[in-house]
Assembly symmetry: C2
Homo-oligomer: 192 residues x 2
């Protein structure tokens, strides 16, 4: 009974997302296809249409899960300084652990960008990064201006670093033994 094939799979949505993520990290973004996912799950290739609509819908679901996991990786309960370090290290670690998914998460025209679930998870990540950019001391102006600029600056920095690392644009010559905490400007000010 347990392994018996039923006409209704039950939770095909989560099975599809899992299969898609396996294919994504195993063979790369270009090799991801609905039909391979369907074969992997053991279901006809048009089954996902009921759950995701189309390819963009499936990718949006994967990416939404990705942002959720990214938020988990960045979360920290310690001091502000510890929060910042955890967020940055978690961000880069996530990108390195899921490079193909990370690329898809910042793709321009493959996702349903106005998907409500996706927007919620993206916002959750931004909130964590916003908290991590408090009291950076990078900018002048009022406290609000400092916060606004600091948020944009910190996210730009960590995202650019993560993508350039995962895309292989940094040669090892410059990077051996360095983490993002060593590269971030003026972070050492309150580091110890």
């Amino acid at each position: 009974m347990t392994t018996q094939h039923k006409y209704h799979h039950g939770n095909l949505k989560v099975a599809f997302v899992a299969a898609a993520r396996d294919l994504l990290e195993q063979d790369g973004l270009a090799a991801l296809s609905l039909r391979k996912c369907a074969e992997k799950v053991g279901v006809s290739h048009t089954a996902p249409k009921n759950h995701f609509g189309n390819m963009a819908g499936l990718m949006t679901a994967i990416v939404t899960q990705g942002y959720s996991e990214l938020a988990e990786r960045m979360a920290c309960d310690g001091s502000p300084c510890q929060q910042r370090e955890a967020a940055l290290l978690g961000y880069v670690a996530f990108a390195q652990a899921n490079p193909a998914l990370y690329e898809l998460m910042f793709s321009r025209d493959r996702l349903v960008n106005d998907d409500p679930d996706l927007m919620v998870q993206v916002r959750a990540c931004f909130v964590i990064l916003a908290a991590a950019s408090k009291d950076l001391g990078w900018h002048s102006g009022t406290a609000d201006e400092q916060d606004g600029k600091g948020q944009v600056a910190l996210w730009s920095f960590v995202h650019g670093y993560a993508q350039l690392v995962t895309a292989g644009r940094f040669k090892k010559d410059n990077m051996q033994g360095l983490s993002i905490l060593d590269i971030l400007p003026a972070l050492s000010k309150d580091a110890d």
Copy 2:
């Protein structure tokens, strides 16, 4: 005679790259296809095989041209401070003017990453950014250490900013009237 169709196109390589870039910025990265390029050029759909080998070869050619243009946009003959400003503004302007091409330029598995021509152009861009990161004053350590970290930091920063802007991850609320020069930390130190 001038518009007469010849069996040998003449300079089909540059014609294909131009057609591909048109399609790229018009319909997005997902809509780029060899067959559409061929139709646009007015040639059979297997013609590019002799020049580019495959899709990755064509994309590599487009991206190589992109890096060349990016270097042009960043280049500046003025003072070090002017060079830095020109490089950063040119970088962001290029990304905003060619968002789909810019995304492709940092794609992971669609390009021939060890292509000699591509590596030359990528390196040229890095050289300009390295010059622009001189005397940033962001890091401590020896001059060499400062330079190495500053190069990685500045490229991370500008690339992350450019991609997050073109990907629409920044809401207008935080960004109205601000340029990257306003966001860069500690750049105002020598800005005036």
